[in-house]
Amino acid sequence: MNNSVAVTPEIVAEHGLSPSEYQRVLEIMGRTPNITELGIFSVMWSEHCSYKSSKKWLKTLPTKAPWVICGPGENAGVVDLGDGQAAIFKMESHNHPSFIEPYQGAATGVGGILRDVFTMGARPVANLNALRFGAADHPKTRHLVAGVVAGVGGYGNCVGVPTVGGEVQFHPSYNGNILVNAMTIGLADTDKIFYSEASGVGNPVVYVGSKTGRDGIHGATMASAEFSEDSEEKRPTVQVGDPFTEKLLIEACLELMATDAIVAIQDMGAAGLTSSSFEMASKGGLGVELDLDKVPVRETGMTAYEIMLSESQERMLMVLQPGKEGVAKAVFDKWELDFAVIGVLTDTGRMVLKKDGAVVADLPIDPLAQAAPEYDRPWVPGTKQPLLAANDVPAKAWPEALKALVGGPDGCSRRWVWEQYDHMVMGDTVQRPGGDAAVIRIHGSKKGLAATSDVNPRYVAADAVEGGKQAVAEAWRNLTAVGATPLAITDNMNFGNPERPEIMGQFVEACQGMSEACIALDFPVVSGNVSLYNETNGQGILPTPTIGGVGLLPEVEKSVGIAFTAPGEALVLIGGPGTHLGQSLYLYALFGRSEGAPPPVDLAAERRNGDFVRGLIRDGRVSACHDLSDGGLLVAAAEMAMASGIGAALAVEGADLHARLFGEDQGRYLLAVADAAAVLAAAEAAGVPAQRLGETGGDALAVNGEAVALADLKAAHEAWFPAYMA
């Protein structure tokens, strides 16, 4: 009997529990745990489930606003959209699996985040993905890009949720550690939101979805060796996703949620049945008793340990109202999904697992949850690089510089990526990928949702406080640029090894910068995810706190895109002139230098400028809008021109033309407007710096009389990705 595998110090260590943690296990149990119990402690106290290194700092993030219905702590965050509707969203990483098996790793990442959202009663309406790969010339990169993009698309396209946005970046720090962060946004009625807190002693605990197999059991190699001869063969560490089953699961869950049968529901994500049952009971202050013989399994001879720790995909756990089993079963039968009553809620406060008629695990829930380790890891502040003066950066002829930026790996069009994603399914995509934020109509209404994902890891590496601030500000700005009111963010904190004080310092400082920006911009954090230990051979990734932002448009038809809509319109720059080239794309892409401080973020100016721009858009006074970010003014102007096929002529004055054109100073927007005088007057009245820079028209982009044909720019912009992937 496998449960009789002896728990030796080696096995404890293999389960990732430190000696002091194991001491706490012994105290809580009052005896030596058996292998199944040890496995449960191990996953519940893992970094992934317990957030032991990050919790202290996550708690400092602002999470409240009048429109926040539910902040961090549930499967996803919930914000009020008015009219009885809510947006539910979250971002999650699938970094490691995607490096090993890019297609399935990325696909199951999408599947997992979808479940976090529909488990709360929301119909998923949009997906985003933030991807970071190693250097373009690293031998593994192309294969990883191909697999990850195909996997994200393969899953999202099949479930029929549009993938409307995201990011792709290349940097050598990700050579051995790519990042795949997936975000889902769903829509629900505010009176039909489902939570994971179990209630009602005696209520049935129900398993639905796919069968359980031996997928992704991260148990000790030694312990597993004893489970079977061909353990390698039986323990694939990467799960295979089944998007068709996920689609059925979405429909079945939403159908059942329309009735009053469900008390609580929770997806089975990381640590599968263990964490889902544990968290539901723990939140409700109850106990749970499960009969593992009732769990639908896909393989024979699965042990209690394997069933509890399996990470098979496309499964959910629910607590039903008494007597509703029949109603629920009928729904799942209709969708041809497994359905099994596997247990019952108890008042014992214990988790009791039975298999083959015997108790195979019996542990106290509350003490285990309460005693979950929480560390205050040592950290040191990062060394801040000094400001870099514009004249310390070489000036290059702007046409060459511009072509290199918009035609290089970091500035080129991502069309190759998003054309592999069905970004129109569901028939509500108003702004397709390629702009600042995606916009979807809230089905059946006049309103819209905007969504974006942002972070500049080079900024964060140079100064984690400013970089953290900037990531939040940029997300806020991108939402503003389409005319949306930014509501809240989800974050995905991707960092190296937190046991190194300088990495922990990056984490702490990024949280600090994010908090400042969230407060100043009324843009709270409602959900998120932490992924640590992203390093290979002691080489950590750039600190990457990915920010997923969501905003609301009261009238979706008033949203604007980046494409110019007509010739002869005025171009107005909101915000000051470009001055800052430290850590800019210009410096990095053209000269291979990552130097200087990142551009400082003046949050008050950010807010003032953004609120002003949003007001203009809502008043119908703006025909195209783009925020200035990577590559500054000229890259923004070029993108607006390329998106429309309409050129522009700019007059840009001042010394250090390269900084004027390519500086990445924050809080800025480029607008195309019909009535420049009125806009400039309004800006002056609002105390917002604004300047008329030129006019749209023609088939070239011209600066101070020198022109580059749009066709050439566009050719360079569209060529890099397909050529690289060919």
Partner: protein, 80 residues
């Protein structure tokens, strides 16, 4: 000479395709099927005619491209 490569999912790895085919066959009224697994079958037409010389190259191709050994196994036969 032809190299015939079978790439199959390792035992224990979920096979959504096989599952779907199984389900469909049952729906069509085919009974007595306990399970279905679906894999790939790749035929390489090689200039090389010596099996022993070809094998290491085909194995290398399987490991590098045709199969992901994290979740898949491969088997190679020669013909002709």
């Amino acid at each position: 000479m032809k190299a015939k490569v079978h790439v199959t999912l390792k035992a224990g790895v979920l096979d959504p395709q096989g599952k779907a085919v199984h389900h469909a066959l049952e729906a069509l009224g085919f009974a007595g099927i306990n399970g279905v697994r679906q894999g790939k079958f790749i035929e390489l037409d090689l200039a090389e005619t010596d099996r022993e010389k070809a094998r290491p190259m085909v194995e290398d191709a399987c490991r590098k491209l045709l199969a992901n050994t994290v979740i898949e196994n491969f088997a190679i036969d020669f013909e002709g």
